[in-house]
Symmetry: C2
Subunit: 122 residues, 2 copies
């Protein structure tokens, strides 16, 4: 086992682009809402403000989730994985939902027989 596994030191392992993966999960239903990316700034802002910040890879800028749409995420708890390169945000999702399509979650299609089938998330 490496040091990162068993330590209480917070040593986030950013990749060569300076990013870690961030999963947003509904704090009550445990539904996974989205997967996004965080740089050090986004992680710090999230921990300090209690609202989710990500790094937008397409816009190459700090992204305060919901700042324009209203779909902010109130962060209840943040947990990190064994090698400290991924986090889960347990959030209360405000407004219509996490997805830019207006859906509660970005994961709304199932892969079946090499095609996608739209599903209803409970």
């Amino acid at each position: 086992m490496t040091k990162a596994d068993e330590t209480t030191e917070f040593l986030p392992k950013f990749d060569k682009n300076g990013l870690i993966a961030a999963i947003a999960q509904d704090h009550e239903s445990k539904e996974v809402l989205m997967l996004a990316w965080m740089n050090e700034d986004a992680l710090n802002e999230t921990m300090e403000t209690g609202e989710a910040y990500y790094w937008s890879r397409s816009r190459q800028e700090l992204w305060h989730k919901g700042a324009t749409s209203g779909a902010i995420q109130i962060v209840k708890k943040v947990i990190i994985d064994c090698d400290q390169d991924a986090v889960i945000l347990f959030v209360e999702q405000k407004s219509t939902g996490a997805c830019h399509t207006g859906r509660p979650s970005c994961f709304y299609r199932q892969i079946k027989n090499n095609e996608l089938v739209f599903i209803d998330n409970e």
Copy 2:
């Protein structure tokens, strides 16, 4: 909205390393067990065999999860996100757990005041 959002066509968007992100979630408890990566081979093997395959970035090889440890993941359902660059595997985790540390989940520490606190996952 882009085509990837609303289509029933399965058009996985691999990154420049040929990878998409894969979240493994317990199919019953909805606990997130791990975050890993898949190349096209791993995705195909997973869909065809019903067991989770990933791409090991550290070993740079196809990784049949649990092939040596016994901690295989029986895949019940695979869902994909809006831009088709991340999937969730709903799995039945065999053996001791998903994490190489022997824990059920790789996410066993909470970030609190810039330190990590070990948590008990229910």
